[in-house]
């Protein structure tokens, strides 16, 4: 039988609001444990939550960017479960009335556009962090557990997709696309390694063509896009092998092990876990008036999908439009500035996605503070085009510019990289080389074309490589034919 994988993805995004979801503590990654805490985020007796308005604006912008509807009225619920790093032993979350619902995200898979439905985006609070001592950091047999509540109460948005994803690759692309969209909105720093964006996948299989959903398995602990793709692929394989051998998939949560490349069962879910959800009585319902929603919508930046379309309309192929679109904002501004200053879009994109990215990586510089602007890049490109510098010398010019040595022209001058275009200097060198190689002229005249290459080389050598080879070539031919 042919099996069709059915995948839904839940994404948790920590917002980078100034303060936490329900108290005034500062939101920041890491730091001395338990220094950014207060009675509320420690769950001390008597402390109460107060909703952070900025977090609600952030989730609204995520929802709107995903084409969601924003609920006019939304309420918080308590999700009750006991866990040492959950200070109140309930999480303030949302249940049946999320802030945002019913949206979509278009992704491109093998050159084809696929629309993945978004069921909801809801608001909740993050937990603290447990560190298990000894026993390789595993909870069982740990000698002790340390708790850090700095993260407790950080605003968390959960984006739940519909089960519209059909392959491990699609799962990865969806996650990447969602991450870049949220990065664009500037509401989270979406760092996988710091856990500010986290992915869980729900995987099931069904006979191809069937429209009933199979039993789903939730997989957790994927900390990169690659591990998400591998974990989903592995889980699909595991289920197919299991079912083909006459087994049955059970509803459970499985843990992805990056090292061994397999998933392990964590716990079997009895139906849906009983979190005893009920309306959070410490908070009043939120009201998202249409004027407020409109205000948030107006503030949305250009989003990746429309930006890629714009780049393609400027003549970039889909591939480079995609790569350019995924660059950091300041890099894209350089592109826009260069094009505005008259640079050909393709050349500007190539320089940025190639040389500039390479240089930044090599020098470990932050793309956010790149010392390059659009007109400067345009100047460099035009110097290559008019032959002022060779394309290889231009890379050196770029290095000088990025190192803060000045404009492309002054770097080329200082580093002595300008191609010799002064015809008197060139002519003298050409005349000298021709005079020293009378046999070569004869060979050329008898049809030996390849000798031109040798002569160009001689001229380049005489000018220490600063001559424009194309000009030299032309000049040699003119002289020898004359």
């Amino acid at each position: 039988m042919t099996w069709e994988p059915v995948i839904g993805i839940e994404v948790h995004v920590e917002l980078m609001t100034a303060s936490k979801m329900f108290c005034g503590c500062v939101v920041e990654f890491g730091g001395e444990p338990n220094t950014r805490v207060c009675p509320t985020c420690l769950g001390l007796p008597g402390a109460l939550p107060v909703t952070n308005r900025a977090a609600i604006e952030s989730i609204m912008s995520i929802g709107l960017a995903l084409g969601c509807r924003v609920s006019e009225r939304s309420v918080f619920h308590r999700k009750n479960y006991f866990y040492a790093d959950l200070p109140k032993n309930y999480q303030i979350s949302q249940f049946d009335v999320p802030v945002c619902h019913d949206g979509f995200l278009d992704i491109e898979v093998d050159g084809e556009s696929r629309r993945i439905g978004i069921e909801r985006a809801h608001m909740e609070e993050d937990t603290g962090k447990s560190t298990h001592l000894g026993a390789g950091g595993r909870i069982h047999a740990a000698e002790g557990t340390l708790l850090d509540f700095n993260r407790s109460g950080v605003p968390l948005v959960e984006v739940v997709s519909r089960p519209d994803i059909r392959s491990a690759t699609e799962a990865r692309i969806y996650a990447q696309e969602l991450r870049s969209l949220i990065a664009e909105l500037g509401v989270s720093d979406v760092r996988l390694e710091e856990g500010s964006i986290r992915f869980d996948a729900n995987v099931s299989i069904r006979p191809a063509g069937d429209d009933v959903l199979g039993t789903k398995v939730e997989i957790k602990n994927m900390n990169s896009f690659r591990s998400l793709e591998r974990a989903v692929a592995h889980e699909i394989e595991r289920q197919i092998t299991l079912v083909d051998a006459g087994g049955e998939v059970i509803q459970e949560t499985r843990h992805w092990d990056e090292e061994t490349g397999v998933t392990h069962s964590m716990r079997v879910k009895e139906g849906s876990s009983d979190y005893r959800y009920f309306t959070e009585p410490d908070l009043v319902p939120m009201v998202m008036r249409p004027e407020w929603v409109a205000q948030i919508r107006e503030r949305l930046p250009e989003l990746p999908a429309s930006r890629r379309a714009r780049y393609q309309s400027q003549g970039l192929d889909p591939g480079s439009a995609g790569v350019l679109s995924n660059l950091e904002g300041p890099m894209r501004s350089v592109y826009d500035g260069a094009v505005l200053s008259g640079a050909p879009p393709k050349a500007a994109a190539n320089w940025l996605t190639g040389e500039v990215v390479g240089w930044l990586r090599k020098s470990e510089r932050d793309p956010g503070s790149i010392p390059l602007d659009g007109p400067t890049l345009a100047e460099l490109i035009s110097m290559v085009d008019d032959g002022s510098v060779s394309s290889s010398a231009a890379k050196e010019v770029l290095d000088g510019v990025l190192s803060g040595e000045g404009s492309p022209r002054s770097v080329a001058e200082q580093r002595d990289l300008l191609q010799v275009s002064d015809s008197s200097v060139l002519e003298a060198a050409v005349a000298e080389v021709l005079a020293a190689n009378p046999r070569a002229i004869e060979e050329f005249r008898s049809g030996e074309e390849k000798v031109v290459g040798f002569l160009v080389g001689q001229v380049m050598k005489a000018t220490q490589g600063k001559a424009d080879p194309r000009a030299v070539n032309q000049m040699l031919r003119d002289r020898m034919s004359g």
């Binding site: 007796p45 008597g46 107060v50 009920f278 009585p281 009043v284």
Partner: protein
């Protein structure tokens, strides 16, 4: 006692006839004379109180007058967080817990110049109607030491009754201020939900909990309320609009006021003396100019059932944080789960455990709709019943408690009998409305009887207007005898 009421004490303070220090010392003296028999307090902060009293006097000398509570000795139910002073909610699970912050009401008391004497006893986590559920021993009724003071704010009620504080704060989730006030012969008032901040009040049932004052007089109650209530940005359920003036109509009389006598709050289960005192007071009010209307609120009969689903459900979640991980009692275990389970098994008393189990059950998948969901619908129906009644009348009246103070131990084995103590009080909590208990007389055994006045949300002005008239008509001037076989 230097002054019988806080308003009188305030007058003496301002005329220089007494000082905050002298008021405090008198109160401390009363406490040291009565505590062995009453056990109203869990903590008396003698040093902190003396310092606060000195500062209150110094401020007064400097011409700074912080208002009606300036220099007044106040007691707090031990479920309100006080920075640096142990706060236990009368539970073993919070033994030794010292909060790092003040509840908003406590901050308001401090900035109002009040002198905090100490923390009073209560039923563990405010769950109970007799103060017998305290992990630190029962409080007794100053009118008869063999009887209970009511609860859960029994310590606060008893302290004000004997004068070991001129004002005490309690919390009322389902009658926990009004019922002990009634049983101890003092004035106890539950404000409109959301008007006194809950920030720093150790939660029992968040949607019902409300802090309010115990005082000797209705005027004191209105003065205290005006000092502690008001919008608090730290409590999202805090009312942000304009507040009425509780003192505005105290002297206005009741001419033209319409009162509704609630049919459902009489009959079976109500002691004859209590019914007689209620009927008598209604008759006197009528003579004083009110129009009396008999009103029926049929949902009152199911209010208790709804309450015992909603309050335990919220409590089961509110009390989840007491797990031994971060503060309070910890009983170690091999795993985190075991540590939590053992701590909670040992740290919570039987009534708290019963309510957590009840609440957990009623929120469980498959039962939610039949229990918690249904109870919320009943709650909405009670609110509608009230609205209908307030379409006809300005206030509703009833006995505060169906009985006078009962004997210690009499109801501990029968939770249902204990729960029925609050039958007259619970509807106001479910609706979020204000209500007050005023002492109107004694039964033949010399035990006080309370009269309850209920008003619609933010109806404190008319509620106090009627309560003040009730007080004048009753002329209640008895003092507790501290008698009984335990004396």
């Amino acid at each position: 006692m230097i002054a019988p009421s806080l308003s009188e004490a305030g007058r003496l303070l301002r005329s220089g006839e007494t000082s905050a220090v002298a008021l405090l010392e008198a109160v401390l003296e009363t406490a040291s004379r009565t505590e062995a028999q009453l056990h109203a307090f869990l903590t008396i902060d003698t040093e902190g109180a003396r310092e606060a009293a000195r500062q209150a006097d110094a401020a007064m000398v400097d011409g700074i007058d912080r208002g009606p509570l300036h220099g007044i000795p106040v007691a707090l139910k031990d479920n309100m967080c006080t920075r640096g002073v142990e706060t236990t909610a009368a539970s073993q699970i919070l033994a030794g817990y010292v909060p790092p912050y003040d509840a908003t009401v406590v901050s308001r008391l401090r900035s109002g110049g009040a002198v905090i004497v100490g923390k009073t006893n209560l039923d563990e986590f405010a769950m109970g109607s007799s103060t017998e559920n305290s992990a630190y021993g029962t409080t007794y009724n100053p009118w008869d030491l063999d009887r209970v003071p009511g609860g859960s704010s029994g310590g606060s009620a008893a302290a004000v009754a004997v004068g070991s504080a001129l004002l005490a704060l309690g919390s009322d989730t389902g009658g926990s201020i009004r019922q002990p006030a009634s049983l101890c012969g003092v004035v106890g008032m539950k404000p409109t939900y959301g008007t006194v901040s809950r920030y720093g009040l150790i939660a029992f049932a968040s949607s019902l909990d409300q802090i309010g004052p115990f005082t000797r007089t209705v005027e004191d109650s209105a003065l205290a309320l005006s000092s502690i209530w008001g919008h608090d940005p730290l409590d999202s359920t805090s009312y942000p609009g304009a507040y009425p003036d509780p003192t505005a109509a105290l002297e206005r009389g009741v001419d033209g006021i319409k009162i509704g006598v609630v049919t459902e709050l009489s009959g079976e289960g109500f002691e004859p003396a209590v019914e007689a005192a209620t009927v008598d007071m209604v008759a006197r009010l009528e003579k004083a100019g009110v129009e009396v209307i008999e009103v029926s609120l049929p949902t009152f009969d199911i209010a208790l059932s709804a309450y015992y689903l909603i309050a335990p459900a919220e409590a089961s979640s509110n009390l989840a944080r007491f797990d031994g991980v971060r503060y309070g009692l910890r009983v170690d275990g091999a795993t985190t789960e075991e540590l939590m389970a053992r701590t909670r098994a040992e740290g919570f008393g039987p009534e708290v455990t019963r309510r957590i189990l009840l609440g957990t059950y009623s929120l469980s998948a498959g039962y939610y709709d039949a229990f918690y969901g249904q109870a919320q619908r009943v709650r909405a129906a009670i609110q509608e019943d009230f609205s209908r009644a307030y379409g006809q009348v300005d206030v509703l009246v009833s006995p505060t408690s169906p009985t006078v103070a009962f004997e210690a131990g009499a109801r501990t084995a029968d939770p249902m009998a204990m729960y029925l103590s609050d039958i007259c009080n619970i509807p106001s909590n479910l609706a979020g409305h204000p209500a007050i208990s005023v002492p109107v007389g004694l039964d033949e055994a010399g035990l006080p009887i309370g009269f309850q006045v209920m008003a619609p949300a933010l109806g404190e002005e008319v509620m106090y207007q009627v309560a003040a008239e009730v007080e004048r008509l009753a002329g209640f001037s008895h003092s507790p005898s501290l008698s009984g076989t335990r004396s």
